[in-house]
Symmetry: C2
Subunit: 338 residues, 2 copies
């Protein structure tokens, strides 16, 4: 059978691998009968997990690998040395066109380095940004770049804005997505050297809907659909959101548990709270794609469960169906002349 999308899954990457990775893959297969998943990792362990579920065996291929990359080792060295690691072999399958995409919950550094080194950037792409969806009051925004390549130049940020616009329009379904650059004030004259140089490029770019600067306080309010920033700042934003949300909730919980009255009230508000906070659960939004590569590389959180893997695989299918890479190429064509 011809499959619409073939997704490589790094079955050994992540805190809960291979258990949750295999479960997530099976869940995705049972959702979509037209896709195939290739599981890379320890064959015996993977088969033991697969044996727990009912699924169409034709949709699964296992590729046995003998090594694993841990989060403690140098990404660049690991990618080079561990040639039989689940991640490296899976990335090669994407590079060779055997798979359309790869999802991994393994070492972030190794995924970012491996994506660029093994899969490789599309022609004309200067940098491959990591672009997670972040929850907001209004839905989600794409935060681009949160990756490992810091000290970006203005022309990189311009491409991020374009790639991010394509993604938000065709994967998330936002018409004419609003693009803003992270800044420390709303005025055009504000900012550091990078922002001041990037601002006019974004303003002059014909195929994005640039709305100007966004201050960090307006990001959770959903002030723009595509939030452009260089990787250091993007990473700080992403991790602070995670950290602050968990700290605030633990403080609220402690406050409620401190009194009997609070405990009773806490039980009553629990379902409502849970529903409200679901919107801040990043697991709902699949993984973070590394954009601009010859195939799709999706990074999910190290602590991901089957739910994240499941959603990320479906995200890969949408990516292929929406021809994101082809669209990015079309989008960037006029910009090259700038």
């Amino acid at each position: 059978m011809e499959y619409s999308t073939i997704i490589a899954v790094d079955a050994m990457g992540g805190d809960l691998a291979p258990v949750e990775m295999v479960k997530g893959a099976v869940d995705a297969l049972n959702d979509r009968k037209d896709i195939q998943v290739r599981l890379f990792g320890d064959k015996e362990k993977i088969e033991a997990e697969l044996a727990k579920y009912t699924y169409n065996a034709d949709q699964v291929v296992i590729t046995h690998t003998t090594e694993e990359i841990s989060c403690d080792e140098s990404p660049a060295v690991a990618i080079k040395k561990k040639k039989d690691s689940s991640l490296v072999v899976a990335l090669k399958a994407v590079k060779d066109g055997e798979c359309d995409a790869i999802v991994s919950a393994g070492s972030s550094g190794a995924i970012l380095v491996g994506g660029q080194v093994i899969v490789g950037k599309c022609k004309g792409i200067k940098r491959a940004p990591l672009a997670p969806l972040v929850p907001t009051e209004k839905g989600v925004s794409l935060l681009i770049d949160c990756g490992a390549n810091v000290d970006a130049r203005p022309e990189h940020l311009l491409q991020f804005a374009q790639m991010g616009s394509v993604y938000m329009e065709h994967i998330v379904g936002i018409q004419d997505p609003k693009v803003a650059i992270v800044n420390i004030g709303a005025e055009e004259a504000k900012g550091n050297a990078l922002v001041k140089e990037t601002y006019p490029l974004l303003k002059a770019c014909p195929n994005i809907h640039f709305i100007g600067s966004i201050e960090a306080r307006d990001i959770p309010k959903g002030g723009a659909d595509v939030i452009v920033t260089e990787a250091f700042v993007g990473n700080v934003i992403l991790k602070l959101e995670e950290g602050l949300a968990s700290t605030l909730l633990s403080v609220v919980k402690q406050g409620m548990m401190a009194t009997t009255r609070g405990k009773i009230g806490g039980l009553l508000v629990k379902p409502a709270l849970k529903e409200a906070l679901k919107m801040f659960d990043t697991a709902e939004y699949g993984g973070a794609p590394l954009l601009g590569l010859k195939g799709l590389v999706v990074k999910i959180h190290g602590s991901s469960t089957s739910k994240e893997m499941h959603n990320a695989i479906l995200q890969c299918v949408s990516f292929k169906e929406a021809r994101i890479n082809e669209r990015i190429m079309e989008y960037l064509a006029p910009a090259k002349e700038v």
Copy 2:
């Protein structure tokens, strides 16, 4: 009478000026009989406010000014042109040694520019950072720099670490405060060019307790006492904390109000919630000092009430009593040889 500390108050700066500014000043005077407050602004309006309260008239001096600086005008131009604005005249009083400190809720840009241009930096200080206290699970941390001077150099960050350590030890009372640099990973090799160059300087500095990198997710957890970063990133962290806290709380509230059960529970948890969230109320922690100037300049939020003004004035008294500027000078002396 000889006053222990004389504080200039910009009575016209802030959304709620002069009402809340004058009230905050009176509250501080009634706390401390050994201080004097000089109120700068429209004499008639200030007197009308003062008439509402009981206080020792000797402790108050009014200096009439005829202009005000708004948040919409260019800070540099406003500071230069509006020579009879409450902010400029008050800053000059600090420069001339008539006052020890100034508190203003006015235009942030004008306070930052005016502080550096009018009051002036202490000898040897390369940059004056804005250093607000940010709430954490464990108490507060000093986030230094959140100011307007972006694109800092490594030697600036080193001084920030030293000044921040003095402040946390002598104003907040933390013995041997832990200093960390904001980074996108915990390893020494990670980071952008600025962080990589600053790291070894901090590591080699003998008079700070440097613990290495801090990822943004650990800032709300209280991972370090002095959080060193350049102003662009610091500003993003500060504003994202404000924005995310308010968004999360509004989402939680909406969730509770959506059902009858949630509404009843909400009423029950309210006091506990309020108590728990008090720790995230920045008004509790006074204002943000601009460190390294010849006098103390304290910026409070534009929407500040009398509570912020009151706390900020008391903070100025502590600053003077603890001889922070003298201590900073002693601290920096060995570093100059580095």
